[in-house]
Amino acid sequence: MNNTLNVTTAGDRELVVVREFDAPRNLVWRAMNKPDLLKRWLTGPPGWEMTVCEDDAREGGSFRWEWSGPDAAKLVMTGVYQEYLPPDRCVRTERFEMVGGPPMGEQLATLELVETAGRTKLTVRIAFPSPEARAGAMASGMTEGMAAGYDGLEALLATLPA
């Protein structure tokens, strides 16, 4: 069983996140798409909670998710579904905004679920508008699930003297 979170870069502006779950695809899809279920796990850092999950989940439909944290901090993610194909694929635009902070660029996220023997592999591909946007998003901590192992950084660190 391998439920390790795997984050890699692809090309100069994509991030790819892979995670397996010990559940069939239809359950994973529901947990990732039903607002009341999403709110239970996609809470963010300690002290934060998902407070708004408006989701018009269909091709062309838009969504608005909000998280609230300490000191009235608020993070908003909005976007539009370009494809919505339960139970295994969706493509959507995503735009993050930290309330009071600068607006951020729009990214395109492709989520796919593949079931094998009762287990499900989630693959999320995030395409940023530019390499700089990818770097900026990673630095700002606003990318979806992008606990990013930075392309080249680890290799670089390995070459450094202790």
């Binding site: 979170l5 796990w41 990673m138 606990a147």
Partner: protein
């Protein structure tokens, strides 16, 4: 580390030439002219990359006015790496909660 500084660090690291320069400097300090040769870039181009790296705190420049050798600043790189690790942990926590929820859903069986 302040967010602005971390932004600058990741922006600096986004460029493959700058990462290559850092990799070269990891092997020891070098002057601008010593960096020009292997990278096949003009001196102004190299200098521009070095300015970005210096602003991000990833390198420092010596005081020798003629040569101003560049050296890598390991601390800034380590901070960036530590930040990434923290962020990875945050998402692992999200997905761990999802694991728990899925286990509960399996126990309860399919519900419409």
């Amino acid at each position: 580390m302040a967010t602005a500084r971390l932004d600058a660090t990741f922006m600096a690291l986004a460029d493959p030439t700058r990462r290559a320069i850092l990799a070269r400097l990891a092997a020891g300090e070098a002057t601008v002219m010593e960096l020009v040769a292997p990278f096949k870039l003009s001196q102004p181009a190299i200098s521009k990359h070095l300015k970005v790296l210096e602003r991000a705190g990833l390198i420092s420049r010596g005081r020798d006015k003629q040569k101003r050798p560049c050296r890598i600043e390991v601390a800034a790189l380590a901070e960036a790496d530590a930040w990434l690790e923290g962020y990875r942990k945050l998402w692992e926590a999200n997905f761990d909660r999802l694991d728990d929820l899925l286990a509960e859903m399996k126990r309860e069986g399919e519900r419409p």
